[in-house]
Symmetry: C2
Subunit: 177 residues, 2 copies
Amino acid sequence: MCENAGMDDVRWLNDDELKAWTRLVAVVELLPGVLDSQLRRDSRLTNYEYFVMARLSEAPGMVLRMSELAARTNATLPRLSHVVRRMEERGLVERRPCPEDARATNAYLTDRGWATIQEAAPAHVENVRRHVFDALTPQQVGQLTAIADALLEKLDPDGLIAVRTADVRTGRPVERD
Amino acid sequence: MCENAGMDDVRWLNDDELKAWTRLVAVVELLPGVLDSQLRRDSRLTNYEYFVMARLSEAPGMVLRMSELAARTNATLPRLSHVVRRMEERGLVERRPCPEDARATNAYLTDRGWATIQEAAPAHVENVRRHVFDALTPQQVGQLTAIADALLEKLDPDGLIAVRTADVRTGRPVERD
DNA sequence: GCACATTGGTTGACGCAACAACTTATGCGG
DNA sequence: CCGCATAAGTTGTTGCGTCAACCAATGTGC
């Protein structure tokens, strides 16, 4: 029925692409769960919460504006706002108005937050290694970087959200994630 | 403080791995949103709902046991159960007890469901192509398949959930996803 | 300096996913 | 066949993410 609906010039996926797509979708579906469950079990943390603290911990003064923190954690502002509120209630971070711009809010990593992520880091990194990098050759690691980079260019063209800036290698204390 | 807690033999990530990890996390975070928002906007469907119908549509008779469908969509049974209930209320699928095993439930794709996915497919595939495969060289597509395959071996060792079986290329009608 | 758009951020409502508890049916050992 | 373990699904609760609405502060044109 209705053989074409004005958009029959669809560029369908060929066999190779279909295979890659199936695998990619599976990874995207399964990876978050693997990360979350380990962190939840061992450290009462979400993967995203860990990520937030990791970004804060490597920022000078362990402070970042909310919008900057959102960008560095690949999240929207509302999402971050909710997460930070919950984390603040647990004493992991602290929010204070920004002196230079009264609209802005600064998020600080507290001592308790710093201690928490330090304790959580080893097991988390070990988990990442076991589930990801133990499976890849050094060559594949390079390929993965190039591929993910290419995808990010399409997924977040203007770099509005994504963390292509993660080269900001502050040689600060720990490098766990 | 407390320099080692009995687990200081952590295999931290080196620079290359860290770079790859940052990119991969960003992709995993951003990709679902890109897929969901297009399907929600154009077809009132979740990406996962689309995936469910796609798997059903390529099954013989457009029927699958719930547990089999869950495995093929990389999901847990509770998750699928909720989703299918909602889809049934919208007339996209139908649930009927399995004759051979009274415990089991068969999920059927309805005519309405079939029509829905046929309408949704072109725009969805176009979206996938624009955000993913347009960014990759044919060589990278192959690399991605190998990498994702290696990861899946670690993420789902026993193949309990993942779709390594997606080579079941039923040359059926459409191949959209 | 005064409208007005824009930026930065928060809040509330709603939807979906994870987890645990529960129900029912099957299979198996004796 | 009877008791028990296991398999297949469903359901309820709880927590997180998204979206839209909102508020406050900044800046900009005139």
